[in-house]
């Protein structure tokens, strides 16, 4: 018995092929992203779709003025709490490192390089709390983070990345971008290895990202990020982070010096401890300028 005519069978086959071809596009955005093998390919494809990308003039720039703060604590994937199983698809090596990190934390052993007053590094930088500001200019965007008074520069003047023979890993990486309407599309490479935050996985210095940053409401800026890392991830990791407007009146971002009052030390077992006031090695913030042995000015 013939169930389908050849013509019907051909029609069904075409429908099936179309379903597979367009599945990534019809699925959620995060599913779409992971089909890309390389961040550069991803970035260039977005640029092509944007007609080559634009460098905006002053009157075309979006209004991102104000002070903002990361929404969702220090989570890199805001859906997943720290110290929980990650949504990242890790390689066996990095999965083992992550599991050890969680086990150590449960034993009360945890260290963070931030406690040496080093910068957070990128892409962890995305997650850091406190205050942020965007300075949007035609040729570049400065993304200021209160913590460590850091500035991440995203060049939108059409330049490429730093030439390979001059490139080296930096704390905020090498970011270039273009405008697709009111969306800032950014490609970042040349990062230092690090961790997404405490209680989260590590990444290697081969990590790179593609971001699409845009204002999605009067008080919300969204950063849609796809992370690529051949050493730590078996497939790209897509997350969406949000920054909400801080409405405290007259708030301003002041200079943030981590060395001003840091008495955190690493213990022999690799955990975190404090030198307290009056103990040997304590750095008194009142005498950092006058120097040890000198009498600080009366307050």
């Amino acid at each position: 018995m013939q169930v389908f005519s050849p013509r019907t069978a051909a029609g069904v086959a075409i429908i099936i092929v179309h379903i597979f071809l367009f599945l990534p596009h019809t699925a959620a955005a995060q599913d779409y992203e992971k089909w890309y093998k390389q961040s550069e390919q991803h970035f260039l494809e977005l640029k092509q779709k944007a007609g080559g990308g634009a460098t905006l003039t002053w009157n075309q720039l979006p209004d991102w003025t104000g002070i903002w703060s990361h929404d969702g604590g220090t989570r890199f994937d805001p859906r997943i709490p720290n110290y929980s199983p990650t949504s990242a698809k890790l390689t066996p090596e990095y999965r083992a490192k992550f599991e050890k990190k969680l086990a150590d934390q449960k034993r009360g052993i945890e260290w963070d390089h931030l406690s040496y007053c080093l910068p957070a590094g990128f892409p962890r930088w995305i997650t850091e709390p406190f205050l942020r500001e965007f300075i949007v200019r035609p040729e570049e965007v400065w993304w200021i983070n209160e913590q460590q008074s850091e500035v991440r520069r995203i060049y939108t003047d059409g330049r490429g990345h730093v030439p390979e023979d001059e490139a080296y890993p930096t704390w905020t990486g090498d970011s270039i971008g273009f405008w697709d309407g009111d969306t800032l599309v950014v490609h970042t490479i040349n990062n230092k290895e690090g961790q997404y935050n405490r209680g989260q996985p590590d990444y290697s210095d081969k990590v790179s990202t593609v971001e699409r940053i845009r204002k999605v409401g009067a008080d919300v800026i969204e950063d849609d990020i796809t992370v690529y890392d051949p050493l730590s991830l078996v497939e790209p990791w897509h997350v969406v982070n949000r920054y909400v407007r801080v409405k405290t009146p007259d708030l301003r971002i002041n200079m943030w010096s981590c060395e001003e009052n840091n008495n955190v030390v690493k213990t022999p077992d690799g955990s975190t401890q404090f030198i307290l006031k009056g103990e040997k090695g304590y750095k008194d913030p009142n005498s950092l300028i006058t120097g040890p042995g000198e009498t600080p000015a009366a307050k």
Binding site: F130, Q147, L251
Partner: protein
């Protein structure tokens, strides 16, 4: 060790919900399940980054003065919580709640400060109170 401190200093044990977030260091040194509730006199308020420290002189049952350090967030976070540097002056009598160090040394992560007028300063909006302990809106 925490029990030792509670005995020596006459500290009460409270149920305190939230722990202030720290971007700068792990909280591994603190015992988040233990609480101290100490009354004393402010010696110094270091309104600094990456963390502020409130130092309070506490007299224990033997009459000995112990300097307790309470670690808090940096100035901009405290300011947004309504904790201005001018609100905690040296010489002022306060009652401070926190989660102590695991190793028993006199330091804790700050949870709240109750001033003589009954107002409560805290990064946790649920704990804040105005003079006389009246409810306040988050700043």
């Amino acid at each position: 060790m925490k029990r030792t401190f509670a005995t020596i200093l006459g500290a009460g044990v409270l149920v305190i919900g939230t722990v202030p977030a720290s971007a700068h260091h792990s909280a591994a040194a603190y015992d988040r399940d233990a609480n101290v509730d100490l009354t004393g006199t402010i010696r110094e308020f270091q309104y600094t980054n990456p963390h502020s420290w409130l130092f309070v002189q506490v007299v224990d049952k033997t009459g000995q003065t112990v300097d307790w350090g309470f670690e808090a967030e940096g100035p901009s976070t405290l300011l947004r919580a309504g904790i201005k540097v001018s609100l905690l002056k040296p010489g002022e009598k306060v009652t401070v709640k926190g989660h102590p160090l695991k190793d028993g040394r006199p330091a804790a992560i700050l949870v709240s400060v109750t001033k003589a007028d009954g107002s409560v300063l805290s990064s946790d909006p649920a704990l804040r109170r105005g003079p006389g302990g009246t409810p306040v809106d988050a700043p």
